[in-house]
């Protein structure tokens, strides 16, 4: 491999990495609560809420993220009303904002599915015990359901975090200069496709290994003595 390529590309990619991290941070920070909200909506007793949430998940899990990001950035921008509404235009007018929005909406749907199964698999008795104490639904959720579901969901969710980091690369298709954005530019400048690809992948790998290891540590921290269950 040509070493000069590395010294040339890395400074650019480092700048891009900041943006990638920013998108991922928002994706996790807002996507997780949002996904959990949707998951609870999907287990709701009210049929309308449940159906709406189901539909949202079906759409965002069923279509490619690329299309979602295109529709949000290019598609919605065609609508005059949105262009002239300051708040909406703030949301999608700026490519970074649109990318963050798309990532949140996309990961929200996947996160919801992960937490839905986790919530459904909780032993009834534990929730009944909380209900019998007179806890409000919110407290039951916050103190019993969520902590237990989180432990069950963490392995899958850590995967989702890695996916968020990687999917954030689609932001480059709407002109956001994150890692992949810079990589594309460098590739067309130098034609050192393979080299830049590998360097880029190393960037993603480093970020993801950091995330996955952190989540692994959290998972181990949260796991209570599982042995000697009778």
């Amino acid at each position: 491999m040509d070493l000069s390529i590395i010294t040339y590309a890395v400074p650019f990619l480092l700048v891009g990495a900041k943006t990638t991290l920013l998108i991922a941070l928002f994706g996790v920070g807002l996507g997780l609560p949002f996904g959990i909200l949707v998951a609870t909506a999907r287990t709701s007793q009210v049929a309308t809420i449940r159906r709406c949430a189901d539909f949202y998940c079906a759409v965002f899990r069923g279509t490619p993220m690329l299309v979602q990001i295109f529709v949000i950035y290019y598609g919605l921008a065609q609508i005059g009303f949105i262009r002239h509404n300051a708040i909406l235009w703030w949301l999608i007018g700026d490519s970074l904002h649109a990318a963050v929005l798309a990532v949140i909406l996309n990961t929200g749907a996947y996160t919801a599915e992960i937490f839905r199964t986790a919530l459904l698999s909780l032993p009834r008795g534990l929730i009944e015990a909380a209900e019998a104490c007179g806890m409000s639904p919110w407290v039951i959720f916050q103190r019993i359901k969520f902590p237990l579901a989180l432990r069950q969901a963490l392995p899958s969710y850590s995967t989702e975090v890695a996916v968020i980091v990687k999917e954030s690369s689609l932001a480059s298709t709407i002109t956001v200069l994150e890692i992949t954005g810079y990589a594309k530019r460098l590739m067309s400048e130098t034609f050192a496709i393979m080299e830049i690809f590998v360097i880029t992948a190393v960037f993603y790998l480093v970020i993801n290994v950091a995330c996955l290891t952190a989540l692994n540590v959290i998972e181990r921290r949260l796991s209570f003595e599982p042995r000697y269950a009778r």
Binding site: A129, S136, V139, R143, L148, F224
Partner: protein, 264 residues
């Protein structure tokens, strides 16, 4: 108000019915409890005792019937379209705040320590601050001899220890009405004696207690009245002496005689 609540029954169960699909489990159970009363619900396995307790705080929705706790009532009716309809469903939360329940299978939260299991509801339902909650919890735990285990997780406890934590979880809450589902099933005789004392103290302090038990001697000792449930209906509702000396039916008689023969 206060006076009225003392006079009126703490718990009134009226024509409680429950069916799971086609199998009818409770077919019209009615009884009342006054403040400070301890009632044992006895009957053979599968006779619907746990189901009755679970219906009282609406963990299980009855098929029909009315339940009144300290003056507030919830009734369940079947409407024209054969759907179950709960009248005054908003009271369910009120009920559960007044009622504490110990489960047959303990249902301790595996992700919380013993102390956490007990303080949880104190902090989040009774809104005590953390220190106060821990003090209350430790005193409840020491009543059942579990104060030394407060930092263990449930999975590190023996069966009897788990059961005692489940009891302490409710003791700490000091609810007006307590439902115990076989609170001594995993306890050794020494501890059964302890629980007996605790229940007597609680009753003396004005709590009302409904318990399910298979230990007839314990039931006889602890309760003011005993209710014998058989095939979903109340076969006998009497003071213990009466039940033992004067069984109302063949079923009661057979049940009690087997107690005596086992003990022989």
């Amino acid at each position: 108000m206060e006076d009225a609540s003392i006079m009126s029954p703490v718990l009134k169960v009226h024509e409680l019915r429950k069916a799971f699909g086609a199998t009818s489990v409770l077919s019209g159970v009615s009884f009342q409890m006054r403040q400070g009363e301890v009632i044992s619900l006895v009957g053979s396995s599968g006779s619907g005792k746990s189901t009755a307790l679970r219906c009282i705080n609406f963990l299980e929705t009855p098929s029909s019937g009315e339940i009144e706790v300290m003056g507030d009532a919830i009734s369940v009716v079947q409407n024209e379209r054969h759907e179950t309809e709960i009248v005054n469903a908003a009271n369910i939360r009120v009920f559960r705040r007044r009622i504490g329940m110990v489960f047959q299978s303990f249902n301790l939260w595996p992700h919380r320590t013993v102390l956490g299991n007990v303080t949880e509801a104190l902090i989040y339902v009774l809104r005590k601050d953390k220190r106060e909650a821990e003090e209350t919890a430790l005193s409840a735990l020491s009543k059942v001899g579990m104060a030394d285990f407060s930092h263990r997780y449930p999975s590190q406890l023996s069966g009897g220890q788990q059961q005692r934590v489940a009891i302490a979880r409710i003791l700490a809450m000091r609810p007006k009405l307590m439902l115990f589902d076989e609170p001594t099933s995993a306890l050794d005789p020494e501890l059964v004696g302890e629980v007996l004392k605790v229940i007597r103290t609680l009753a003396g302090e004005g709590a009302t207690i409904l318990l399910v038990t298979h230990e007839m001697r314990f039931a006889r000792e602890v309760s003011n009245r005993m209710i014998f449930l058989h095939k979903g209906i109340v076969e006998q509702d009497a003071v213990p002496e009466e039940l033992f000396c004067n069984p109302a039916s063949e079923a009661v008689n057979r049940f009690l005689s087997s107690v005596i023969s086992t003990a022989a």
